[in-house]
């Protein structure tokens, strides 16, 4: 088993997908969380001045959140059974990358009234149309999972996005018209390793 050290701030943010993948696969790793004040000292050692970064066996570093997640998924049986399935999983993960991008503005809005307005706008304009497509894909695939017959990091990415703090707080109606996805997210959340991690992880604002 390689030695993994995952560097990130003490929030869920862009490292949470990698953490969930590692926990789901039962792979031990050092979940190195640091505070904002420590960042200036760490930043110069990161390949592109950003985190998350995955350090492997003490000397190789990998940057970029989705690259890290994909690498770990592939190493630990959560990527898909063949090239085509792996690409399907990549595709769904890229959709979540886009949704996280659009959710940034509401997430960082400090006025709660304005935040709810922005959240509702993003939901109506982007998330709901996307969910319509996802429901079609899930129905067509027929296994309950997004890709092939079993769990992949694509399912975990959807789980992570639809259980972020802002989604949990403001999004109780978001999955009303997406029963298949709702069921999938509950399924992922009930995987014993994920359930255990989520119950014991640090409680953070993002």
């Amino acid at each position: 088993m390689p030695g993994y050290k995952l560097y990130y701030f003490n929030v869920r943010g862009r490292a949470e997908l990698a953490r969930l993948i590692l926990h789901c696969a039962g792979v031990p790793f050092e979940d190195f969380r640091f505070e904002g004040k420590d960042w200036p000292a760490i930043k110069p050692n990161m390949p592109f001045g950003q985190v998350p970064v995955l350090e492997v066996d003490g000397d190789k570093m990998l940057a970029q959140s989705y690259t890290i997640a994909r690498y770990l998924a592939r190493q630990h049986g959560l990527a898909g059974q063949n090239d085509w399935e792996q690409s399907q999983a990549d595709m769904y993960a890229d959709c979540i990358y886009d949704l996280h991008g659009i959710m940034r503005t509401p997430t960082w809005e400090t006025d709660p009234v304005k935040q709810k307005e922005l959240f509702d706008k993003v939901n109506e304009e982007t998330i709901q149309p996307h969910l319509e497509k996802i429901e079609q894909h899930l129905t067509k695939n027929g296994s309950g999972y997004l890709v092939g017959q079993g769990l992949t990091w694509a399912d975990i990415a959807y789980y992570a996005f639809f259980t972020t703090p802002i989604m949990t707080r403001l999004g109780s109606e978001v999955l009303t018209k997406a029963p298949h996805l709702k069921k999938l997210i509950e399924l992922v959340g009930n995987y014993p390793n994920i359930k255990k991690y989520v119950e014991t992880r640090p409680v953070t604002s993002a």
Binding site: L62, A63, Y66, T67, D83, M91, D94, H130, K133
Partner: protein, 211 residues
């Protein structure tokens, strides 16, 4: 050989489909390069997986998301990296470029020319300059002339597409003056016979309206 059909807008003529076109061209693979007018989009949009393009049709099955398509093609045609770790490094560089494409969209879409000029200056100083310095460091460390391992990967094509075919064309080479390794890499990719053949064909066949 599978039948590839790549669907994207006519304009921009490069946009988010260009990396895949470069990968296919460099690998010498034939593909149908479908470019549709914006007025056709309302009819096409509902039949795409997520209401977006580019999409890649492979023998009747459809893949969406520009980097997913690029990665799939790179893997199938020897441009992804030699092992899992190299593939991950190539992914990392491609994800860097994906972030940079999203970041430049902000000044790119600014309508006020005075504000736009300011935004571009800030972008080059605050986003591009530090990134160029970081990549230069990695290139020196890898010491092969390529971003990943000792061979061309789609990561090099992605950096060429962004830094040479886009930023250098737009702003000139001054921003690369302290990055001789990056400059050498993008010049080298630019002159690869298959890349050159593609860009010459593209520029003489498709009118440029906006990038």
């Amino acid at each position: 050989m599978p039948v590839y059909k790549l669907h994207y807008f006519k304009n921009p003529r490069r946009g988010r489909a260009e990396l895949s076109r470069l990968i296919l061209s460099q690998a010498g693979i034939e593909f149908e390069d479908i470019r549709f007018a914006h007025c056709e989009w309302p009819a096409i949009k509902p039949i795409t997986p997520f209401g977006q393009v580019p999409i890649l049709e492979v023998d009747g099955q459809v893949l969406a998301q520009s980097n997913t398509i690029a990665r799939y093609l790179a893997k199938r045609h020897g441009l992804a990296g030699k092992d899992d770790w190299e593939q991950a490094l190539a992914d990392m560089y491609a994800e860097n470029i994906h972030d940079l494409l999203n970041a430049v969209a902000v000044p790119f879409t600014e309508k006020n020319p005075v504000k736009q000029k300011e935004m571009y200056q800030k972008f080059m100083r605050d986003v591009i300059a530090p990134h160029v310095a970081a990549v230069e460091k990695q290139l020196k460390k890898n010491n092969t002339g390529f971003l990943v391992g000792n061979e061309l990967t789609w990561a090099d094509l992605a950096y060429y597409a962004y830094f040479s075919d886009f930023l250098e064309v737009k702003f000139g080479s001054a921003f690369l003056k302290n990055a001789p390794h990056l400059k050498a890499l993008i010049d080298r990719v630019k002159d690869l016979p298959n890349v050159k053949k593609w860009t010459e064909f593209r520029d003489s066949t498709y009118p440029e309206e906006n990038e």
